[in-house]
C-alpha cells in the first residue's frame, strides 16, 4: 500500500515544488530603485491608458495616485477620474513609455527629461495656461527648460547628501568621507551609476555633463578602491534605514526622506552639508506628444502646483515641493530640519542633477557595472 502510494505522492510533491518554483521565478524581481514617495513599491494594477477626451491617464510612481496628491484637479474636475499606471524606477518608466504605454502624463526625475525629449515622447508645456507657474522659482523652472523651451512641470524635489551616525562618526563636512577607510565595512552608497558620477564629479571638480575618458576612468578607480569599505549598495530606502537601525551602517549616501524617518525614530543621525554642496533631484511631469487631452493634462499639472496638493506632499510624504510659498505649512521640526526649510540659502549651495545625454547615461552605467563586477 505504502509503495503504491509513494509514486503518486512523489509526483504530487514534485509538481508542488515546481509550481512553487515557478511562482518564485515571477516574484524574484525586486525593483532596483525604490518608489519616490514612501520607499516601497505597491502592486497596483495596471490599467489601459485613456485615449479619448474626458479621461486622463498618468504613468506615475506608487503612492502619488492618491487624491491628496491632486486635490485642486479633483475639485475642478469631479467628472474626471484620472487613471494611474505605475513604474518602479526611472528606467522602468522610460522603458514603458518608450514601448508605447501611451499615458497622457508621465512622471520622471532628473536627469531623464532629455531622453524623453530626444525620443519625441513629450511635447512643450504652454506655461501661459498654468496659473501657478509664476510661483515656481527659476531654479526649478530651468530644470525643465531645454534650449529655451519648457518641456515639463517640476513638482517634487529632495536632497542627496551624507547621512551619518553621530555616535560613531565626527561631523562630516565633505563627500570625501564616503571614501574614507576609517569607516570601512560601515559605508553604504546608492546603487546608481550616474548618481555615483555626480558625487565623484563634485568631489574631484569634474563636470558630469562633459567628462573626458580619463576622468571617467579616474572615477571608476575611485569607486573600485572604495568597494572594500562598502557593506552593501542600497537600492531601496528601507534596506538602508535598517542598516542604520542595526548600526551596521554608519555613513551613507542618502535622500532626506531616510534622514527624516530615522530622526523620527530617535536615532542619533545627522545630514551633512558638504563643502562641495549637497546634490538634489527634481521630479518632473511631461505631457505625451500624442495626447488628445493636452489642455486637461495642463490643468492637472497646474493643480499639482496648487497650495493644497503642495502642502500635502510636504506634510504627508516629507518631500520638497517646488513652490516655496507653501513651506510655511510645515510645523514638524524634524521635517523642517530634514528639508532644511529654515535655511533660505541651502538651495543655492546645492548641485541640482545635471541634464545628461543617453550616451552619457550608458557610459556611466557601464562604468558602474565594471565597479560592481570588479573583485
Amino acid at each position: 500500500m505504502a509503495n503504491r502510494l509513494r509514486g503518486p505522492i512523489l509526483v504530487t510533491l514534485i509538481l508542488v515544488v515546481v509550481a512553487c518554483g515557478g511562482d518564485a521565478a515571477t516574484t524574484t524581481a525586486p525593483s532596483s530603485v525604490t518608489t519616490a514617495a514612501a520607499g516601497a513599491t505597491t502592486a497596483a494594477g495596471a490599467t489601459t491608458a485613456a485615449t479619448g477626451t474626458g479621461e486622463l491617464s498618468v504613468l506615475e510612481w506608487a503612492f502619488y495616485e492618491v487624491p491628496e496628491m491632486w486635490v485642486e484637479f479633483g475639485e475642478a474636475h469631479p467628472e474626471v477620474t484620472p487613471v494611474f499606471n505605475f513604474g518602479a524606477s526611472d528606467p522602468d518608466i522610460f522603458a514603458k513609455y518608450l514601448a508605447g504605454s501611451g499615458e497622457d502624463i508621465v512622471h520622471f526625475y532628473t536627469p531623464y527629461l532629455r531622453f524623453y525629449v530626444d525620443e519625441g515622447l513629450i511635447q512643450p508645456i504652454d506655461t501661459s495656461k498654468l496659473s501657478n507657474w509664476s510661483k515656481v522659482p527659476p531654479l526649478f523652472a530651468d530644470s525643465c527648460t531645454i534650449d529655451g523651451t519648457v518641456y515639463c512641470v517640476p513638482w517634487d524635489w529632495g536632497f542627496t547628501s551624507l547621512l551619518y551616525n553621530t555616535d560613531m562618526i565626527p561631523e562630516v563636512t565633505s563627500w570625501e568621507a564616503l571614501f574614507d577607510d576609517a569607516y570601512a565595512g560601515h559605508v553604504s552608497t546608492y546603487d546608481c551609476g550616474d548618481c555615483a558620477v555626480n558625487i565623484a564629479g563634485a568631489l574631484l571638480g569634474y563636470d558630469p555633463t562633459n567628462l573626458s575618458p580619463e576622468q571617467l576612468e579616474e572615477i571608476k578607480q575611485l569607486y573600485i578602491d572604495q568597494k572594500p569599505n562598502v557593506l552593501f549598495y542600497w537600492a531601496d530606502e528601507p534596506t538602508l534605514e535598517a542598516g542604520f537601525t542595526d548600526e551596521s551602517i554608519w555613513l551613507a549616501y542618502a535622500w532626506n526622506g531616510a534622514y527624516y524617518r530615522l530622526l523620527n525614530a530617535g536615532l542619533p543621525v545627522a545630514y551633512a552639508d558638504p563643502v562641495e554642496g549637497r546634490e538634489s533631484w527634481i521630479g518632473q511631469y511631461g505631457i505625451s506628444a500624442e495626447t488628445e487631452n493636452y489642455d486637461l493634462a495642463l490643468e492637472f499639472l497646474d493643480g499639482k502646483l496648487g497650495e493644497q496638493t503642495g502642502t500635502n506632499l510636504l506634510v504627508d510624504y516629507a518631500y520638497g515641493h517646488v513652490v516655496p510659498d507653501y513651506f510655511g505649512a510645515v510645523t514638524d521640526e524634524n521635517l523642517v530640519t530634514a528639508l532644511s526649510l529654515d535655511d533660505p540659502t541651502v538651495l543655492d549651495r546645492t548641485n541640482f542633477t545635471p541634464q545628461i545625454s543617453r550616451e552619457q547615461l550608458e557610459e556611466y552605467v557601464a562604468m558602474w557595472a565594471e565597479v560592481q563586477a570588479s573583485s
Binding site: A2, L5, R6, G7, I9, L10, L13, I14, V16, V17, C20, G21, D23, A24, A25, T27, T28, A29, P30, S32, V33, S89, P91, D92, F94, A95, L98, A99, G100, F115, E119, G185, D191, C192, G193, K227, P228, V230, L231, F232, Y233, A235, D246, E247, S248, R358, L361, E362, V365, A366, W368, A369, E370, Q372, A373, S374, S375
Partner: protein, 293 residues
Amino acid sequence: MRAAADLRRGPARWALVLPLVIFLGVFFLVPVALMGVFSFRPSLRGGVANWDWDPVLDHYRTIAASESFLPLLGKSVLIALLVGVVATTLAYPVAYFLAFRAGRKAGLLLTILIIPFWVSYLLRIISWKVLLGPTGAINSFLAWLGLIDQPVTILLYSRTAVVITLVYVWLPFVALPIYATMLRIDRRLLEAASNLGAPPATAFRRVTLPLSLPGVAAAFLMVFIPTVGEYVAPLLVGGSQGALYGNIIEIFFGDGINWPLGSALAMVMAVGILALLFVLTRTRPVRRLLDDL
C-alpha cells in the same frame, strides 16, 4: 487499447505535444532569439520595435575589452559549481534516508522537507537576512554564548553568504531527483549483494551509488545552470563584494536601458554554459550517466 495505440502515432500524438511546443516557442524560443538579435543592435534608440538599424559587434567588443565582465563570468561558474557540489553532497544522505530508511514515513518527511518551498523564494532569502544579519539570530546567539564580541560580518553581505543562501534554496530541488532515482533501484539487487556476502558499505559503493549517480548528475545540473545567472540572492545578501554575472546583465536591462549590451552579456553566458555542458557531456563517464537517465 486501440485508443492508446492511436495516441502513439498520427495527428493525436502531435495534438498532445502541440500546446507545449507553442508555449515554449512563444515564451522561450522567441524571446531568446530576440535577445540574440538585440545583441547586434547598436542601441535602443528609436524604441523597442524599431527595426531600422544595421547589425554591429560593438557590444561583444565591449565585453571582450572589459577588465571584469568575463572574469566575473568565470567566478560565477566556479560559485555555481561550488553551490551544486555542496547542495548535492548535502542532499544525497537525505534522499538516501528517505528512499531506504524512512519507510512509511517517507511521504511525511518529504512533505516536511519541501514545506519551506510553499513560501516565496524572495521571502525566504529576506528571512535569511534576519538570521544572518549583524543583529540577527546567529550573531545574537554567538554573542550570548560569549564567543564573539563583534558581529560576524561574513554571514551577510559576502560571497559566502550568497553560497550559503543558494545551497539552502536549492537543497530540496536537488534531493528530489536523487530520491526519485533511488526509488527506481531494484531492491533485489541489494538483497543479492547481501546474499553474496557484501557488507552494507560495499553494497552501497558497488550497487546503490552507481545506480543513483544519474539522479545526482541531473540534480547537479538543475542547480548549476540557473545558479550561473543568479542575481536575486547576490542582490539581497551579497553586499558590495557579492555580485555575480547575472547582476551585471540586470544592470544593463534596468538602470542602463541598454538592452543590446545586456543581451550580448546574456548570450555570452548562454553560449558559454552550452559549450561547457557540451564538453562535459562528451566525456565518457558523464555520457554513460546521462544514457542511464
